[in-house]
């Protein structure tokens, strides 16, 4: 399989090794850093977007959020299947337009909501779906890391959607995956000195309530995630800080474990699992566990949360199931 990868930022350093491990040929195109990527991974470089589109079957878009719409559009119009990093777009209007285009050209568009591929989340979802804790009632999700200062666009809310759309969208998607469709969103946010944190409360159609919080914290903040899912007959919990199979203390503050991503080195990379599922689908295999509608709904939840933050009021989420 020939993959045309666009971008050379942080996420490409997990996507490229995953593609290579899957036996794919990777060509990279990026406005910056393509040569370094090519040198590091021994992959080909395309000199232009057209060259890239001419050299691949599937396009993997790993660029800043505001570029997603145009790049996905170009790739779909070129007749390629597309994998695109989350959030799929900055708003649902753009996401809907891309869904229409994908259907029109008959190509697949897969959103890279990788948290669905992390074993702890996937296990929890399966357990809840199997009824192991009864009806979900109160859910909490937390995601903490340092402020993403490695690229300037994250700090510009117009480009990234801020922490809610860029980071918390993962857990908004997971909450909806586990507890079902959402009818109402309320959110608050606070930021100072290069730190940003938000808190979102979701009311699900079936009655469950979810709390999602995200922190972009001080430099050096250790990446950490946790969740608690209380249901009518039990509780499921996970905390990356305590449920780890390796912890070390090397005695030096400089060796702190901060990272922009969780350590997934003890098992198959969830990025690889994700890309394999997408790749198999493009070859006619089963539909992946996350689809474009999920991605659009996640953008809708994040946009509703940002609207609630701006207005100070809760926001009703429009009912989805009304096809003309």
């Amino acid at each position: 399989m020939n993959i045309g990868l666009i971008g050379a930022g942080g996420i490409t350093h997990v996507h490229i090794p995953a593609w290579l491990a899957l036996g794919a040929n990777v060509t990279v195109f990026s406005l910056e850093g393509a040569a370094e990527s090519a040198a590091q991974y021994g992959i080909a470089v395309a000199d232009s977007l057209d060259d890239l589109l001419g050299a691949c079957d599937v396009v993997d878009i790993c660029t800043p959020t505001p570029t997603h719409y145009r790049l996905v559009e170009r790739a779909l119009r070129a007749g390629k299947h597309v994998i695109c990093e989350k959030p799929i777009t900055l708003n649902t209007t753009d996401a809907d337009a891309l869904a229409e285009l994908a259907a029109f050209v008959g190509k697949q568009l897969h959103p890279a909501h990788v948290v669905r591929y992390f074993a702890e989340y996937s296990l929890a979802q399966s357990a809840v779906a199997a009824g192991q804790i009864g009806e979900p009632a109160i859910l909490r999700f937390s995601r903490i890391g340092e402020f993403p200062s490695w690229a300037g666009w994250f700090a510009d809310e117009a480009q990234s959607g801020g922490i809610v759309l860029d980071q918390m969208i993962h857990d908004l998607d997971i909450a909806r995956w586990i507890a079902g469709e959402v009818t109402e969103v309320y959110a608050v946010k606070n930021s100072a000195d290069g730190c940003e944190t938000a808190q979102v409360v979701l009311t699900h159609e079936r009655g469950a309530l979810s709390y999602v919080t995200g922190v972009w914290g001080a430099p050096g903040t250790t990446f950490a995630t946790s969740f608690s899912i209380a249901g009518s007959s039990g509780v499921l919990k996970h905390d990356s800080r305590t449920d780890a199979s390796l912890r070390f203390d090397l005695g030096s503050p400089a060796s702190g474990g901060h990272s922009m991503r969780p350590d997934t080195s003890f098992g198959e990379s969830p990025y690889l699992t994700e890309l394999r599922e997408f790749a198999a689908a493009t070859l006619g295999g089963a539909a992946p566990r996350v689809n474009l509608d999920d991605a659009t709904r996640a953008v809708e939840l994040a946009a509703a949360a940002n609207e609630s933050i701006a207005s100070g009021r809760s926001v009703r989420v429009a009912s989805q199931a009304v096809p003309a």
Partner: protein, 356 residues
């Protein structure tokens, strides 16, 4: 650990000769904490304890009144009038949440300092009347918020107070417990408890945030549901809730107040508070200290954390001896009650509620 039990420490001030015993009266055994307070007071020096529980004994299977006093080895009288005629220096009110007011008012009229179980009341009117009664009688009113005395919270306060967390941005609190059915039926009767999980479990975290930040809450938004324990017919109020509080200056906090600790869990539940600042993040889990494991009966949780009830009672006794108010006082109880009442209103109306 009390000063009296520390080798080399000066003698406990209350055990010094010449100081007359402090008379402490326990009004009502309705709250499950009454027995615990009685046991702790019995271990404290120079205290005479007497109790009355005239309203007890109506619920089948609940050990109340003279029977419970006998179990505890506490001197007992049949009426509150008799109890107050004994002229106690201090009164601890552990009646049902909605029945605090008449007992606090009577205690104040009798000139006794008051420690009232949380929540201070179930209506703002009652709480203000209780405070006014204590002010008029010039007696101390304290609210039973023991978690304030947790050493973990003390360290958090110190860290935040010295700027170690930078500017405080946000907090997430949880106070999840097993549903309080079984021991005392009134806990799930809104007429007597004032509500469900929200009235039971918002106040502790709200009080910690009050003590930690000193910030004024301005908006409260809450949602609640009754999915947990839906199979228990005796439960007549919300069992799960999420409460989001906006404070003056932009600080935000969300509290999960749900009764989500399963009935078969090895411990009652717990409380956590995570505080996010611009220099770092701090987590406290005051009830985390335990030895865990498994016995033939299942998982076990052998807790060994600080007994914060003992520290609270110690503070109260010292306040009475010194004749002055200590924290958490009645005003603290009123501030956190306002958050509960706003949360109940928000959950009922679906609106964001402003508080003053």
């Amino acid at each position: 650990m009390s000063a009296a039990s520390t080798p080399g420490a000066p003698p406990h001030p209350l055990s010094e000769p010449g100081i007359r015993p402090l008379r402490v009266a326990l009004m009502s055994f309705a709250h499950v904490h009454a027995a615990g307070y009685a046991r702790l007071l019995q271990t404290m020096p120079n205290i005479e304890l007497r109790a009355s529980d005239p309203d007890g004994g109506n619920e089948p299977g609940e050990r109340r009144g003279q029977d419970l006093a006998d179990d505890l080895g506490v001197s007992y009288v049949d009426s509150y009038a008799e109890l107050l005629a004994w002229q106690p220096d201090a009164v601890i009110v552990t009646s049902e949440n909605a029945r605090h007011r008449p007992l606090v008012e009577a205690a104040a009229r009798a000139g006794a300092a008051v420690l009232c179980e949380k929540p201070l009341a179930t209506t703002l009117e009652d709480a203000l009347a209780m405070q006014a009664a204590c002010d008029a009688a010039d007696v101390t009113l304290m609210t039973a918020y023991p978690v304030r005395f947790s050493p973990a919270f003390a360290r958090l306060r110190e860290l935040a107070g010295t700027g170690g967390l930078g500017t405080l941005l946000a907090a997430t609190g949880t106070n999840n417990g097993q549903i309080p059915v079984g021991d005392r039926a009134w806990f799930t009767d809104p007429e007597l408890s004032g509500g469900g999980a929200m009235v039971d479990h918002i106040v502790h975290v709200a009080d910690l945030l009050d003590a930690l930040t000193g910030l004024v809450p301005v908006t409260v938004r809450a949602v609640a549901n009754r999915i947990l324990h839906a199979d228990k017919p005796e439960v007549r109020a919300e069992t799960g809730g999420l409460v989001t509080i906006g404070y003056a200056g932009g600080f935000v906090a969300t509290i999960d107040c749900s009764w989500s600790q399963p009935d078969n869990a090895p411990t009652w539940g717990g409380l956590t508070l995570q505080v996010v600042g611009t220099l770092g993040i701090a987590d406290i889990d005051p009830f985390a200290q335990h030895v865990g494991g498994t016995t033939p009966d299942g998982a076990v949780f052998l807790a060994y954390g600080t007994n914060t009830d003992a520290l609270l009672l110690n503070e109260f006794v010292h306040a009475v001896r010194a004749g002055r108010a200590r924290q958490p006082d009645g005003a603290a109880g009123i501030r956190s009650l306002k958050i509960v009442l706003a949360a109940q209103e928000s959950a009922r109306t679906g609106e964001v509620v402003s508080i003053r």
